[in-house]
Structure formats: structure tokens, C-alpha cells
């Protein structure tokens, strides 16, 4: 038995090395399966919880155009969550189990959604920075080794670009507006900049999952590489807006060909991960309420469908 497993493992490693995809019915090490369930579900939960800060602004959007855009964006996020839950389910876990892990706190979601969206400029900044950071990670994941995850990512990336562009447009409009509007934009950038950098996860030397994830081609770039790429691409965008990135250490480094940036407050990051961010409790409560209050609807719909089948069979 053990010998057979070793042979399977060799075949699996060879496939990964050759850049071939792993599909749900293929043999895979238990740890590969578990890592994927953890990562894909965490990603799915992030999409679903990510709807909450924005949902709050749908009724408050400043124009009909902004309102339909925001609605479409939130609908996309629901869709992205569903693509990802489906991908996770191919690994032999049920949807209910996935929700249960979110509601019990066993599964995590992106910490960024535990920050409040307090002004309209936050909707712009979330699209520009948070979706921008997410896209960077997701583009990488279109080439991840597990087939269903990679295919979900391709669909998501196609749709996500509009999210970032509409966010930047909101910022552009505010920055071209009155002094008060511009101050509002700057204030939002000040609050979201550092949490956005934290989205890429802990530093490489402190990331427990990175090494194995790279080996199995789950990730193709490390947290620090992606974070640097994000800083490099975002600084010129802030310049177009005429906003100041709230980091006095931010400076172009000619030798490295990259921007140097200041120290991230990792203490804050771990606090938010541990559940002590400004909105952790509120977000999880909203999810649990939606699930619990919808239970009678799910049951009724199922009962109705079963009855229709019975009626048909009785004829």
C-alpha cells in the first residue's frame, strides 16, 4: 500500500514539475487537497464578506450611475464567491461545511473587510486599491496548479478589471472636485493604504504556507514579491490623482528598480486576523444572520421541489 502511494506521489510531483494541471479526480497528496480547501474557501469567503462594506453604500450612492455600477460590482462578488465555492466542492467538501467553517470562525477571510467604509471616497479607494491588490494575486492564480481553481480565476479576472477602473474613476472625480471632496479622497487613501499592503499576507520569512505553496505551484510569486509589484504600480496612479501616499519612507530606489517603502504595522495585521479588527464581529454577525434567517426559505424551496416530483410521479 505504501509503495503504491509513493508511486502516486512521484506521478503527482512529475505532473506539477511539467506544469500540468491537477484535476479533482486525479490522485493528490492529502495535504495538497487540504491546502486547497483552505485557500479556495478563504478566497470564496472573502468575496462574500467583501460584499458587506459595499452593500452599505448602494442606497447612499451619489448618482444613479454610481448606484447601478455598485450593484453590478456587488453582484459580481457574489458570483465570484460562487465560482470559488464550486471549485472547493470538487475536492469533496460540501457547501454547508464551508459555510459552517466561516460562521464558526474556523475559516478566515481577507482581513481588509474588517475595516469600515465610512465615506463615499472609501468606495473609490476599495475599488482602486483593494481590488487592485486582489487582481494582482488573482492574475497569478490563473496559472495555479489545481484546474478548477485556475479556471475560476480566469473568469474572475475577466470581470474584476471593471471593479478597479470604476474605483479609480470615483477617485478621479473626487480629486477634480471641490477641496472638501479632494480631502475626502486623501483621507480614504490614508486609511486604506496600509491595510491594502497587508492584504498580501505576512512577510515571506514569516509566512508558514509560502514554501510549500510555491513548490506545488499553488502560488507562483511570494507575498513580498506581489506587495512590491503593487507598490510599484500604485505610486504613479496616486500621482495622477494628485494624492499623497501616507508613507514618509516611500522613495524610488534606482539600484533596485523598485520603490522602497516604510515598515508595515504587523501587530495591527495579526490583531485583525485574530478577530480584533474594527468590524470583525459585525461582518460575521451579518453572515450568520443571513444564513440563519434564510433557513426556512431553503427548506421551503426544497420541500416544494420534492413535492413537485411526487405529484409528477403520481400522475
Amino acid at each position: 500500500m505504501e509503495l503504491i502511494n509513493i508511486n502516486f506521489e512521484k506521478g503527482f510531483e512529475a505532473k506539477i514539475a511539467a506544469g500540468q494541471s491537477i484535476e479533482p479526480k486525479d490522485w493528490m497528496p492529502e495535504k495538497y487537497r487540504k491546502t486547497h480547501i483552505r485557500q479556495i474557501s478563504q478566497h470564496a469567503h472573502s468575496e462574500i464578506v467583501g460584499m458587506l462594506p459595499e452593500g452599505n453604500w448602494i442606497t447612499r450612492a451619489p448618482s444613479l450611475k454610481r448606484k447601478v455600477t455598485l450593484l453590478a460590482k456587488v453582484q459580481d462578488e457574489a458570483g465570484h464567491g460562487l465560482y470559488l465555492y464550486s471549485a472547493a466542492e470538487t475536492l469533496g467538501i460540501t457547501r454547508d461545511e464551508l459555510y459552517e467553517q466561516l460562521h464558526s470562525g474556523k475559516a478566515k477571510y481577507s482581513s481588509i473587510f474588517n475595516y469600515p467604509a465610512v465615506t463615499w471616497a472609501d468606495m473609490g479607494t476599495v475599488g482602486w486599491l483593494v481590488d487592485g491588490a486582489a487582481i494582482m494575486n488573482q492574475v497569478m492564480l490563473t496559472r495555479t496548479s489545481f484546474g478548477p481553481y485556475a479556471r475560476a480565476m480566469v473568469k474572475i479576472c475577466k470581470e474584476e478589471s471593471f471593479h478597479q477602473r470604476q474605483g479609480f474613476e470615483i477617485m478621479l472625480t473626487l480629486c477634480k472636485g471641490t477641496e472638501v471632496q479632494k480631502r475626502m479622497a486623501q483621507d480614504a487613501l490614508n486609511r486604506w493604504w496600509w491595510p491594502s499592503l497587508m492584504m498580501f499576507g505576512p512577510r515571506d520569512e514569516e509566512s508558514t504556507h509560502t514554501e510549500q505553496a510555491i513548490k506545488w505551484k499553488i502560488k507562483l510569486k511570494t507575498n513580498d514579491e506581489l506587495r512590491q509589484q503593487f507598490v510599484d504600480q500604485t505610486v504613479p496612479q496616486a500621482e495622477i490623482l494628485g494624492l499623497t501616499i501616507p508613507d514618509t519612507d516611500l522613495k524610488w530606489n534606482e539600484n533596485r528598480g523598485h520603490y522602497d517603502f516604510g515598515k508595515i504595522n504587523w501587530e495591527e495585521f495579526w490583531q485583525v486576523v485574530a478577530g480584533n479588527g474594527p468590524c470583525n464581529k459585525e461582518r460575521l454577525e451579518a453572515r450568520k444572520n443571513a444564513w440563519n434567517n434564510g433557513e426556512w426559505v431553503r427548506e421551503a424551496a426544497l420541500a416544494y421541489a420534492e413535492k413537485q416530483v411526487e405529484l409528477k410521479e403520481a400522475v
Binding site: 486525479d26 460562487l82 465560482y83 460540501t94 475560476a152 473568469k155 431553503r298 424551496a301
Partner: protein, 94 residues
């Protein structure tokens, strides 16, 4: 644990003249709801003109461990491809 809504596999025809193609799956209590949910999840940007849904449990898939027996017999039959036949360069329309 309570009973879950069944899973359906979703196939979409992106435009007339093309095959339906598998795009993913969806949960729904019946076929009608599966089509409506698939519409919302998989065709928000005019990706389709027709949808098929089928209960996932109705699909039988080949086993990857049998790939050898199933697919290797075709590997050495290169004479099934047009390029196997060595014909003069001046020959056209063939």
C-alpha cells in the same frame, strides 16, 4: 446537518452555431431554479444564448487511473492523421 440543495453542472452555448460548454456548477432545488441561478452566475455579461443543466450525480466520469487503458491505444496510431502520408509537394488541394 440539514439537507443541501442538489448540485447541477452548467453548460452554456456562447452563440448559435457553437457547442454547449461546461462552465461550472450551481446549487438549486429543481431544474428551473438551476437555469435561473446559472443565468445569474454565469451569463452576467452576455456569455450565453442557451443553458443546459444536469444534476451532477447524473454524470459518470472516467477514472484517471484507467487513463492508460482508455487512451493509450490511440497514441501509436499516427496513420490516423493526414500528415502521416508522404506526398509530393507539387500536389495541391489535398
Amino acid at each position: 446537518m440539514k439537507k443541501e440543495w442538489p448540485v447541477w453542472e452548467v453548460f452554456i452555448r456562447s452563440k448559435a452555431g457553437l457547442d454547449h460548454r461546461h462552465v461550472g456548477s450551481i446549487h438549486a432545488t429543481d431544474a428551473r431554479m438551476a437555469i435561473e441561478n446559472a443565468r445569474d452566475v454565469y451569463t452576467r455579461r452576455q456569455e450565453g444564448v442557451s443553458i443546459w443543466v444536469i444534476p451532477s450525480k447524473g454524470i459518470t466520469a472516467s477514472d484517471p487511473s484507467e487513463s492508460g487503458e482508455l487512451f493509450e491505444p490511440a497514441v501509436d496510431k499516427i496513420y490516423r492523421h493526414p500528415t502521416f502520408y508522404d506526398l509530393p509537394d507539387e500536389l495541391t488541394h489535398m
